[in-house]
Symmetry: C2
Subunit: 305 residues, 2 copies
């Protein structure tokens, strides 16, 4: 295969053809499905769609390491159930504590720093933290076929966005280098910010107060508020992406909604319904009815990383 | 002056020199103040900074015309004080009713439509609505020197954003054509959205509930949430822009904060402290102390429109 052929890590077959055909139709000047460049919007989930989310989403590894660092300065922290579970690596207990506990974890590892300080902390961690199973840097646990697709979409006049339940500021610390997606094109969960003065220096302090938890129906509403355009293409891997995918797919004209199925235990992990944070069930069962194109990691990708 | 010289509608003098010098320094490869392109962020207020806001901000003209249209279908609407004042063109009473009344006005002219329907309504109005004083289309009541500056910044690798208290969706209906600023680079006030299904079609319905009133301290926090980078350059014209300008100016390295002073009664309007919605007082009085560069419309611009 020549280097100039698009999407070299995608196997030839109906899925790759559907992607190339779709991009060809919306970019064909004078064609019946031509879409002007400003309207070419593509939105991608992050965890499990662009990068590994097993055994834990990358930002949980970051948060846990951050708790360990903070607990050395504040030992009383370890008395709270959520932090105790983290320090003991007892993840079943942790996730059994529910959403409130995960929120507490997020606040503890974000709040009180400025967004700029947080960025430095996250980048410092990402510089050398490695995935426990794959043995590669977390920031390199990204799917090569998806990086190719993002780049190919941009070459074809698309603006590419991440729309994820993950923390926006954490993803922004690596999205440009890993995916070529600029910070302002990363839409995620966030805490509220406070405008603070310290002498002549004004900064934004992250508060222990949720701004948005960017999952499910929040994904399309965030797209409306942030991008102001319905995506032509949306790519997800769980029921958390259903609303975004159906929103994209139900627009007029050519649309493509893609669903990644993790069915490759040999090269990555095989899972769907049972995954604790973002299970894949309805989106898979109803893929045909909803007009989704299911991407099989095993069948459609000739490389993963 | 040759056409290839930058900023032809700006008069030579210290202000134009400060702008060109700043852009030169941050883009000079290998220079001590060089800033890589991804970090080149410029944020502009809209009303009174990029376009006329006198006697009323453009979106008020739109909202009033919209109330007149809606009142023909629902005459009972005219019994409410805020709409009665609009229908009688009694703007002193209207603005005397306070912020709650203006919120009611915004909700009445937005809520219940989808964001896509609202865009069509706004674009339809902008297609032929004219400014009462200047006799030109509202969408052409934009300042030529600013359009040149926005384009020159983009030529120099900057991303240009609007950060305004105005409604994001209203500005998005004309920002690309008027300023070359894409919809996702327009940050403004907004109402909450609801993800709705009508048959197989999913859409975003605008709700009568404020999402954000994007003025004063909300401007820098919106920048943090939406852009995720501190601006290198910020341009405003009122105390509503102070927080954004001080945030930009207090970053490390070369920074520029510009303040437009409307002092040109012959070509536009002369006003500052007394303007009802967005007065200019502290930003003007403290311009030197805060390191702001004051732009005089009369002295620094050789053309306005």
């Amino acid at each position: 295969m020549s280097a100039s052929q698009p999407l070299p890590s995608w196997n030839d077959g109906p899925v790759k053809s559907a992607i190339l055909d779709f991009i060809g139709r919306v970019t064909k000047e004078g064609g019946p499905e031509f879409v002007p460049p400003p309207e070419r919007v593509a939105t991608f989930d992050n965890d499990g769609t662009l990068c590994c989310e097993q055994p834990l989403q990358i930002q949980f590894h970051f948060a846990f390491d951050r708790v360990r660092t903070l607990a050395t300065k504040d030992p009383a922290m370890g008395e709270r159930p959520v932090f105790k579970a983290v320090l003991e690596r007892d993840y079943n207990t942790l996730f059994g504590l529910g959403k409130q506990a995960l929120t507490e974890l997020a606040f503890a590892t974000h709040a009180g720093t400025t967004d700029e300080e947080f960025n430095e902390v996250a980048r410092g961690w990402l510089a050398d933290a490695k995935h426990p199973r794959f043995g590669r840097l977390f920031r390199e646990c990204v799917y090569r076929p998806q990086v190719e697709l993002l780049a190919y979409l941009r070459e074809n006049g698309f603006k590419t966005y991440i729309v994820s339940a993950g923390g926006a500021d954490f993803m922004r610390a690596f999205a440009d280098e890993a995916y070529g997606v600029a910070r302002d094109q990363v839409i995620g969960s966030s805490v509220k910010l406070r405008f603070d003065a310290a002498g002549d220096r004004f900064s934004l302090t992250k508060l222990p107060e949720l701004n948005i938890y960017n999952d499910r129906e929040a994904k399309p509403t965030s797209i409306g508020l942030h991008i102001g355009r319905r995506p032509l293409l949306a790519f997800g891997n769980s029921d958390g992406d259903l609303a975004m995918m159906r929103y994209a797919k139900s627009g007029s004209g050519a649309r493509l909604a893609l669903l990644l199925h993790h069915d490759d235990a040999a090269r990555e992990v095989a899972y769907d319904r049972e995954f604790r944070i973002s299970p894949l069930a309805e989106a898979l069962d109803k893929a045909d009815a909803y007009g989704f194109t299911v991407v099989s990691m095993k069948r459609d990708w000739n490389a993963v990383f």
